[in-house]
């Protein structure tokens, strides 16, 4: 039964119901005091049940956008609807429908995992007994039952992140915002968190994920938006974005640099050959990893001694360079700074 206190979902400026999109952002802007424009006309739509990857380097405007979508910051222009509710005019309804795990898992180190989950339950209107049951359920889900009654100061980074995720799930949100959830985690913890995010998505939760890592977006996201200097500069599936870079590159390291010219001759039929700045050669080929075996065979037959042949993963830096014409490293970290 609908909550009579919750206002009806709004209509778009065109008069159409906008309740279908999990997140709808139109010409969103945020200018800080002093004129710094951190978000400059962002438009995006996230469909229900989707994992949307929001990529960008430090200072691109990711965190500011997330802070607006989670009602922690007001936009200075445009509008945004989350779960069908306006983030400015219907902020309490938005908060009821979202789960938020912000950057660096800001949790109180003096509280235990269980206390934090129970507090989160209380903040979302659960009665004491309900909050207790939900906390136990979530501790089990994120594999923290044994650590549940320990203070957070004794948790590892991975455990803290898992608890942070569990806290965002206490009230079974429709849309989950994860702001750089795996930054600083070791590969094992990162994989565990990825599994949990996939499992949540399988249960129907829409996930809005910000990250600096294309690999993370590739592992998790159905679609990806790349933000640079407050604008969305590219959007698509991870594969579509990678294709913007061109053919994947195979890196060939030679044992004897004197065989450079011979190696170039042998590799030319396999793809576009170029010198690498740190030594060795790059071969760009549409076959990607499938070209490794024929390349090694050709070099062997020509008696060119090879130290290594590796497929170079396309990184966010590569995609960035391809779509913006400048490297991802930004010296404008202040864009994501707090006001």
């Amino acid at each position: 039964m609908p909550d009579p206190a919750v206002p009806p979902r709004p209509e778009s400026s065109a008069g159409q119901a906008t309740g279908d999109a999990a997140v709808l952002v139109e010409n969103l802007e945020r200018t800080y005091k002093g004129g710094l424009k951190a978000v400059d006309g962002v438009n995006l739509i996230v469909e229900p049940g989707e994992i949307y990857g929001f990529l960008g380097p430090n200072g691109a405007g990711k965190s500011t956008t997330v802070r607006i979508l989670t009602t922690l910051l007001r936009p200075t222009g445009g509008r945004a609807l989350v779960a069908g509710y306006d983030v400015v005019r219907q902020a309490p309804e938005v908060r009821r429908n979202i789960g938020v795990a912000l950057q660096e898992a800001a949790l109180d180190p003096l509280m235990t995992g269980r206390e934090l989950l129970q507090l989160q339950g209380a903040l979302h209107g659960l009665r004491r007994e309900e909050a207790r049951e939900r906390a136990a359920e979530l501790l089990e889900r994120v594999d923290l039952v044994e650590a549940g009654d320990r203070r957070l100061q004794t948790y590892s980074g991975g455990m803290t992140r898992r608890l942070d995720l569990a806290m965002a799930l206490v009230h079974r949100p429709a849309v989950l915002f994860l702001d750089e959830p795996t930054t600083g985690l070791d590969p094992v913890s990162r994989n565990a968190l990825w599994r949990e995010v996939r499992s949540l998505n399988d249960d129907g939760t829409t996930v809005f994920l910000t990250t600096q890592y294309l690999e993370e977006a590739e592992q998790l996201a159905d679609r990806v938006g790349i933000i640079d200097r407050g604008h969305i500069v590219a959007e698509g599936t991870p594969d579509e974005l990678k294709r913007l870079v061109g053919n994947p590159a195979l890196m060939v390291k030679l044992i004897d640099p004197a065989q450079h010219d011979e190696a170039c001759r042998v590799l030319a039929p396999h793809g576009e050959v170029s010198d690498r700045s740190g030594g060795g050669l790059n071969v760009r080929t549409p076959l990607g990893a499938r070209a490794i075996a024929p390349i090694v065979r050709s070099l062997d037959e020509a008696r060119v001694e090879v130290d290594a042949v590796e497929l170079e993963e396309v990184s966010l830096d590569d995609v960035f360079l391809a779509v913006t014409g400048h490297p991802a490293e930004s010296d404008e970290d202040v864009r994501d700074a707090q006001p």
Partner: protein, 266 residues
């Protein structure tokens, strides 16, 4: 909106406020290194006064002849209440800097509950502190003719003052977000104390301090405490003490809520 919905919301907000108050109390007690100065400094002052300066009660016309410690413990209690309030502000600034505050802001609660929870939790510490200080004063020979009712009134006044100080600390934290600024505000506590008749009767202050103390709301709280402890309206009016403390709490709470709104808007 129906009455049932309004009632449901009120119950939920009250539950949220209590949960936040419980957390504030628990965490403050766990941050012993921060809480300790607000207990140790006033107690040290009380002990020094008890052992070294009790001759003040021999001064002609001193209003409490039975025990200088009993007279001065009201000032000690106010000092402790101001310090725990400042600690509450430091805790809020710490939560803002560490990001935990954002988690509270992203919950579907009335944001005034966040301040109210902090204020209530600090009032709990104020109760504990006032009881402890009264017991120490008794151990040092204080004799309170107001008995248990007087002591209870003092504990209530201390709790209200601690709440007001917590709201003030929270306002500064919310407005500035600066942990270091709050850590440097300790001297203000002493300015507030010495511009109120915390350790000497009003008539013993020099004329300039007397004039200032007339405008310091803590004057009426500390005198109200003495009136309650010694069951003597001549030492101070208990109702006026409560009125002054309550006005402080309401004003500081309103200031904190305003600071919260201003912070969220920016």
């Amino acid at each position: 909106m129906t009455d049932v919905v309004l009632e449901h919301r009120a119950v939920t907000q009250w539950r949220v406020t209590l949960a936040l108050a419980g957390r504030a109390l628990r965490i403050q007690l766990r941050r012993v290194q921060f809480l300790l100065p607000s207990f140790v400094l006033p107690l040290l002052l009380l002990v020094v006064i008890a052992s070294g300066t009790s001759a003040a009660q021999e001064l002609p016309g001193f209003p409490v002849q039975s025990s200088y410690v009993g007279f001065v413990v009201s000032g000690t209690i106010i000092q402790g209440a101001l310090l725990v309030g400042l600690m509450a502000g430091i805790a809020v600034a710490d939560e803002i800097e560490g990001g935990f505050f954002d988690r509270l802001l992203s919950a579907p609660i009335n944001r005034a509950s966040i301040v109210a929870g902090r204020v209530l939790g600090t009032m709990g510490i104020g109760v504990f502190q006032a009881v402890l200080f009264l017991l120490v004063a008794l151990a040092f020979g204080a004799d309170f003719t107001g008995g248990l009712p007087g002591a209870l009134a003092v504990v209530a006044l201390a709790a209200i003052c601690a709440g007001a100080a917590a709201a003030l600390g929270a306002s500064i934290a919310l407005k500035t977000g600066s942990l270091s600024l709050l850590q440097n505000l300790f001297p203000i506590v002493f300015v507030l104390l010495f511009t109120a008749p915390a350790f000497l009767p009003h008539d013993y202050l020099n004329p300039a301090l007397q004039a200032i103390s007339d405008y310091n709301p803590l004057t009426y709280v500390v005198e109200g405490m003495r009136g309650a402890l010694f069951d003597s309206p001549g030492l101070g009016s208990v109702p006026l003490g409560f009125l002054s403390a309550a006005a402080l709490l309401v004003a500081m709470f309103a200031l904190a809520v305003w600071a919260m709104r201003a912070r969220v808007k920016t």
